[in-house]
Symmetry: C2
Subunit: 502 residues, 2 copies
Amino acid sequence: MAAQEAAVRAQAEAVRRLKQDKADPDEIAKEVAKLLEMKAQLGGDEGKPKFVLKTPKGTRDYGPKQMAIRERVFSAIISCFKRHGAEVIDTPVFELKETLTGKYGEDSKLIYDLKDQGGELLSLRYDLTVPFARYLAMNKITNIKRYHIAKVYRRDNPAMTRGRYREFYQCDFDIAGQFDPMIPDAECLKIVHEILSDLQLGDFVVKVNDRRILDGMFAVCGVPDSKFRTICSSVDKLDKVPWEEVRSEMVGEKGLSPEAADRIGEYVQLHGGLDLIERLLQDPKLSQNKLAKEGLGDMKLLFEYLTLFGITGKISFDLSLARGLDYYTGVIFEAVLLQQENEHVEELVGVGSVAGGGRYDGLVGMFDPKGRKVPCVGVSIGIERIFSILEQRLEASEEKIRTTETQVLVASAQKKLLEERLKLISELWDAGIKAEMLYKKNPKLLNQLQYCEDTGIPLVAIVGEQELKDGVVKLRIVATREEVNIRRESLVEEIRTRTSQP
Amino acid sequence: MAAQEAAVRAQAEAVRRLKQDKADPDEIAKEVAKLLEMKAQLGGDEGKPKFVLKTPKGTRDYGPKQMAIRERVFSAIISCFKRHGAEVIDTPVFELKETLTGKYGEDSKLIYDLKDQGGELLSLRYDLTVPFARYLAMNKITNIKRYHIAKVYRRDNPAMTRGRYREFYQCDFDIAGQFDPMIPDAECLKIVHEILSDLQLGDFVVKVNDRRILDGMFAVCGVPDSKFRTICSSVDKLDKVPWEEVRSEMVGEKGLSPEAADRIGEYVQLHGGLDLIERLLQDPKLSQNKLAKEGLGDMKLLFEYLTLFGITGKISFDLSLARGLDYYTGVIFEAVLLQQENEHVEELVGVGSVAGGGRYDGLVGMFDPKGRKVPCVGVSIGIERIFSILEQRLEASEEKIRTTETQVLVASAQKKLLEERLKLISELWDAGIKAEMLYKKNPKLLNQLQYCEDTGIPLVAIVGEQELKDGVVKLRIVATREEVNIRRESLVEEIRTRTSQP
């Protein structure tokens, strides 16, 4: 109501003013029409503005500070991927809808479709793995080690304080090709270990399992073939809900016999290292199952390679790890942060999965017209949770983070020196110096110095009448307030020296 | 037909084999069912596979080589933006549909909408400018200098060989805030000049105009107020079609009087520098128009600043420049490549706009509930055309481009040394060396050396029985085939020295 009244008052006032100014009636009519439109836009009786100023549900903007953190994390991850010899590729943000169909099992309902505006039916990518497989099949590539960092989209229930978004980054590293067993798989785990250690996120563990061990286990426990996938996605919930709940889902919702569920229950509580693998290789039931035996044999080989890498301390063979996605065929893994060093942060962020991946030997074949397979194994770093942790840690620490790299502010102490500032800053830019100036004709020196304090610019190059006559520039060091006259021709070198990283 | 026949033949053959093997009838029935399904998938009489393996219309993948070029270009552009003290932000790939409504004039029909799957109505971003304005209004920011590099989406007619895509990158730099006239505007033009010079794309010119000059010109030529925008978008076509065609669109389709069109025709053929600005400031009609006079006054100031920057040689005040988007309010500009140095390339790539921008003082106010304005000026680099040019130039030159940064391949000359290779490569990774190995248990030395040749890896670290006993590694320099024994504890340092960039 208040808004409507205000609009009407404004209208009356406008008409009054127009009359006083002896404007012609056409003008008045136009003005009135404009005001009526404005009133309509105000949205009638509710008085609410009709426009909602927000980002879509489950998404967010990154401001300069968040971007500074994001770039630090990316830089650590990209260094690691490059250290392992990866190339980089990129694919479109959307794919033909049919490219994504039948790849994600129960999660398919979370895919964002585009509106049919004539032409092809499109969907936003749900991960980077399926587009990668499509890329390999389309270009007949049988051999590549690549990384891909890009946003993916899931119409999930967002939980933004814990870093769960509808638009989020994935950082994927994959090795495609026919190789000797478990060598690329071991490298993927080494990469997870390197990145999580490098980012100093606190203690972590990487759970490892194998789809073949799971399938073998389901078979010897008496799960019918047709129920493997759905029982698998029940097991996948064990990191969030207790066994009793998962068991009742299996028996109640999914119609599994209580005996089969109980047999599963015994296995999925097991976790360990080489010793557990050896024990299961002797397990009277599992060792009789071809798939389980293959999986356990490869798991043993994997642990031998991880021992050579010196990282078994943080790897746990865990029979409860299932991972929901349909396309995995062999080794699967997931890295979990164990706890935050800072208790305040722990409460806000929660503890969860920060990386995951596995082997998917059949996915590329689903795209190849002749079904030719390209074995693949890969890892995806879940960057958003890592951002959340680092952001909240930074906030707690009150560390000041710079959001620009500016080396010097070009300033003046007197008026009427805009031209001189423009000339000097242009010289600096052309020499590759990162330089700023205030966009004012006659800024106060104090304001210019304050700007440096606020943004962390370490140097000020001050031009003045006297300096111009003497062919020098006064260079002020913000931290110490020291000022030195530098000959103009030496200024670039002086700035470089004083701002070079040690 | 051929495919169908093949399937039937395969089926008969399978049945025959099964009979010979004395398989049971159930097995045979299963096999037949499988073959029938296969036949159905072959798609009946047409024999086409039912699955189309492609990226959506107007989009493309970037392979490792394209990415290497892309990263070079980004790196040049980001350096420039940082040199000018910009912060960086990011926004979601989609916005609420209403955020984009009414911002793009006639181009709005090119916006990609998402399907209504329950919840908010969303559209893919059409540029980075409107999301930037939404970001400023939402966060009540009145003062920022930022860049943003991201993909935008337009349902346009793609012309991919000329770098026109439906998904493409924009690299935007914008300055928001209330400042003294034309100082930030001049910096935007300096940035365009720096980037295009730096990328060595050949000769270019930056056309500059002002929406106020255009509007003033339309007014003095007798264009009715209501036709300003539509006549403006006709003028915008002058870089692609001759004046006669534009004139007939104005008169025929848009109902402008022939006299008004002819008067416009006289103005839009003018281009020049400070001299032209001075002449138009004396123009008996234009100088009487308030808007045109303001625009011309600011244009004069702009050229004075550009003179101080030393870049007027490549800037042309051009009255035919209009730019289609609705939101511009002052200075507008567009950079055009004049010709390619290489004639072969010119034919393929064409010549076109590679950067554009302008002042938009009203856009943020459209998002603010109280209409508070934040004046903005910015530039957008059209990276896809630049990629096309550089890609085709690279292909023509046959220059070999590396797609990884690997410093050393860990190899072995004898069999059974996988464990030793894994141990050594792990040491190198942990020391920050970029290292690869072949994922084979017993690769041939020749294959390992060939891999280095193919991918440009400069060094090979060879482990062998004798080297292990002696505590050394044989380091081979790929280019010279020289081999030296290096003590294991000195290997990291030796690799660093030999691969450090000069």
